[in-house]
Symmetry: C2
Subunit: 124 residues, 2 copies
DNA sequence: TTCAAATATGTCCATATGGAGATACGATTC
DNA sequence: GAATCGTATCTCCATATGGACATATTTGAA
């Protein structure tokens, strides 16, 4: 599966192990959302997501470790940029359920149609 | 945002708070995958994902709390079924990045085309 | 009624987590 | 070189987590 050891006593997979864990945190998701509008400075990000700078940095590190952001140095600033391609595992996983969702919606439509038909048939 | 209290000392949002956290665990994802083929018994699920029954039950409870599965009693068995509609928040969130992904891919194509053109121009 | 099957729940434990805040570090400006 | 800005890192802490396993609970069967 991946590199890190899986001791049977390990409480859970480290956050940095995959994209799923990385986006499990609301703040990290918000950071990604903020980066949708383009490259941003750590302090800008911290401000935008209302987080103290050290925490923003830490979350950015986690995001970087799973490849969701890249970092570029500009003088003493670091510019972080979205790397959305790495959301693909998440995208692909969810995609498997698209059909299931649609089937379900189809069934709902069938059900509603049937209800309507019944209503027409016996006028109760 | 939601109901549960957010004490500043709270380590993180409870797993049961949203779908993102719920699917952060590999076993829960596997359980959902297994349920893609239809309604299943707890013991069947436990067997399919190679998990002791109590753990399977606990993960199923988490999945149930965020609405991703529903449960139906049949004698002493419980039949769990996928409720994929509740993946929608996840789906929608990822969808926001589709465009970003595509833009990025477009740029890559542009870049590759440009490389090719340059290669044709100066035959180095 | 007693037993067994299917499932849920509770406890214990090692560990990962995120928040807070102090501080180290590298680059810039004076 | 010294002060300063922008970031990263480190420590401390409360808490959530998942694994393991014992046990309670519910229900069907003998």
């Amino acid at each position: 599966m991946s590199i890190w050891r899986y001791d049977s006593q390990m409480a859970r997979a480290p956050t940095t192990s995959d994209v799923f864990n990385a986006v499990g945190d609301i703040h990290r998701r918000t950071i990604l959302d903020v980066l949708l509008s383009g490259e941003k400075t750590v302090s800008a990000i911290a401000r935008d997501v209302s987080l103290p700078q050290p925490q923003a940095s830490r979350h950015l590190r986690v995001l970087g470790e799973v490849g969701l952001v890249t970092c570029r140095a500009d003088g003493r600033r670091r510019l972080y940029r979205l790397a959305p391609e790495h959301l693909r595992p998440l995208h692909d996983w969810v995609a498997k359920y698209e059909q299931a969702i649609n089937v379900r919606l189809d069934r709902l439509e069938d059900y509603l149609e049937e209800l309507q038909r019944q209503g027409e048939d016996d006028g109760s």
